[in-house]
């Protein structure tokens, strides 16, 4: 009987050690996921771009409107920018299911984007090419609906 308990203790101890290793690997891996920030400087630092869905949350499978806010390096709003939107799912080698477009300038560096839709679960990217008086720059947002 005593030896059975020893077995049990050994097995539980082994399981705990395994769980610890798994947790450590998992936590370490989680720290290296894609940058999901919706506010970031553009590639060459010309602008800071911030995106948010109008409804507040990213919803899979629904056509959504988003708002983009653009400021220059010195924090002033970027007016009259020409913005091209592309993107897709990098892990599936395909583009966006829709063709989102900037449909209006709302003032103070705010732009309305319509026609954004994420049809599948997983990692999506929105690539914005921004041209304004300051020059042209690009920014990539990672989005997981």
């Amino acid at each position: 009987m005593a030896s059975l308990w020893r077995y049990l203790l050994a097995v539980i101890g082994l399981a705990a050690a395994l769980a610890g290793i798994v947790a450590a690997v998992y936590l370490h891996g989680a720290g290296q996921g894609p940058d999901l920030s919706l506010s970031k400087p553009t590639a060459n630092g010309l602008f800071v771009a911030s995106l948010r869905p109008q409804s507040g949350a990213v919803q899979q499978g629904l056509l959504q409107s988003w708002q983009l806010t653009l400021v220059a390096r010195d924090g002033t709003p970027v007016e009259n920018a020409a913005i091209d939107i592309a993107g897709g799912m990098p892990q599936h080698d395909h583009g966006l299911p829709t063709s989102p477009q900037v449909t209006g300038y709302l003032g103070q560096g705010h732009y309305r984007i319509d026609g954004v839709k994420f049809t599948m679960s997983g990692l999506w990217q929105l690539r914005l090419t921004i041209s304004a008086a300051q020059g042209s720059d690009t920014v990539v947002f990672n989005i997981v609906p």
Binding site: S3, L4, Y7, H92, P97, T98, S99
Partner: protein, 398 residues
């Protein structure tokens, strides 16, 4: 011996297996997202103000089963969309007045779609319903003849819903912009007022058919009962108990086999278009899928931006912002719902595969597409795993 039994018992307890559902929190979340209980209420269709009018739904039901809604009085919507067969016909390609080119789609939950047909060449359920009526391989009629038929057979019923019929007394008996040479000539000879009158009656036929089709909804399945028990943290009971094989199939479906990437949500479809490398059928005309229909959809007078839409243009986002370019639209077809899938072979857009086993084998191989690029990637699946996937798919229809 007693020691060994004890060891086995202890291991079993630690690994918490022993036949009980064992899913991670992420897997549980995915499973809950697939359950019928996650299906939102059917959104209103503001482009069809009759969509939820009971008299329109009843009229649509009459027309759906009416064989006179065809050129020779032998074909109704229900000829291919059979009510006792999940509203499909078990054939590789539908057969109206002649053999068609695509698999008849089942209709459960059809009104949730943004685009219709395998290639999405229509953008509303009511605009979709008009196409087979004039397709020479399906119902093969023409819109002037349908307008006359509605007036003579259902005039009063029509007018109770839509108001007065237009004056059809001088409209040719057969005329359509899409028909035979004689029908096209007759259409060209009509006045704008006559053409608009006929088009309005025709669009309204589509709107009542859509009102009826909105009532065709998916039913609860064994999978949904299993998912409900899992979400509630209780042991599945009765037929909602999954076998080890079904459990493995579900795990593969939402995991290693990546099926859920496209077959997601409570209807098991992302509603989008993908090239999955399905081979063409040798004796059918060339079929390029989504890329081939975009111009037709933009030009369709019954599309959301056309004159026959009810409500405001804000309902037309899907059409306005649809993808119109890109190589990935080549041989891209809509992801079909998988609810009830085991009960309706053959599979794919032209019935290319006779069994679910063949479909699973197709996805595992992921052979290059004859044109464009197959989005799926090869997958190593053992015989046991393939059988498990098929076993799981069967739980979506029981």
């Amino acid at each position: 011996m007693r020691r060994r039994t004890g060891l086995a018992l202890a291991l079993c307890a630690v690994l918490a297996g022993c036949g009980k559902p064992d899913f991670s929190d992420a897997e549980k979340k995915t499973i809950a997202s697939l359950a019928l209980s996650a299906l939102p209420p059917l959104p209103a269709d503001t482009t069809n103000r009759y969509a939820d009018v009971p008299a329109a739904e009843a009229f649509g039901s009459t027309l759906f089963f009416d064989l006179s809604m065809s050129r020779d009085g032998t074909v109704a919507c229900s000829t291919c969309h059979k009510i006792d067969r999940q509203f499909q016909d078990d054939l590789p390609q539908g057969f109206g007045v002649a053999r068609g080119t695509r698999r008849t789609m089942p209709l459960a939950g059809v009104a949730y779609n943004s685009f219709f047909f395998w290639d999405g060449r229509r953008d509303s359920l009511w605009a979709q319903a008009l196409v087979p009526l004039e397709n020479p391989l399906e119902q093969a009629g023409n819109r002037a003849a349908y307008a006359h038929y509605i007036q003579s057979r259902f005039g009063e019923r029509y007018e109770r819903i839509f108001g007065p019929l237009p004056d059809l007394s001088t409209v040719p008996s057969d005329a359509s912009p899409l028909g035979t040479a004689a029908e096209k000539a007759a259409w060209a000879g009509m006045t704008d007022v006559q053409r608009d009158g006929v088009n309005r009656v025709f669009a309204n036929v589509g709107k009542v058919l859509a009102a009826f089709e909105r009532s065709i909804m998916p039913a609860e399945t064994r999978f949904d009962r299993f998912a409900k028990a899992l979400a509630e943290g209780v042991s599945p009971q009765g037929d909602s108990v999954f076998s080890d094989q079904e459990m493995l199939g579900l795990k593969l479906f939402i995991g290693k086999a990546n099926c859920v990437t496209c077959h997601d949500g409570p209807r098991f479809t992302d509603g989008s278009f993908h090239n999955n490398g399905t081979p063409p059928v040798p004796d059918l005309p060339s079929d390029r899928g989504r890329i081939a229909v975009l111009a037709e959809l933009d030009a369709d007078p019954f599309n959301c931006l056309g004159a026959f839409r009810d409500g405001g243009e804000e309902a037309c986002g899907e059409l306005k912002f649809m993808r119109r370019t890109g190589a990935e639209l080549i041989r891209a077809y809509k992801t079909p719902s998988l609810r009830g899938v085991a009960g309706r072979p053959p599979y794919m857009h032209a019935g290319q595969f006779k069994t679910l086993e063949a479909v699973v084998a197709h996805y595992a191989e992921a052979a290059p597409s004859v044109e464009g690029v197959n989005e799926t990637h090869p997958l190593t699946l053992s015989d046991r795993e393939r059988a498990a996937l098929v076993a799981f798919l069967k739980t979506l229809g029981e």
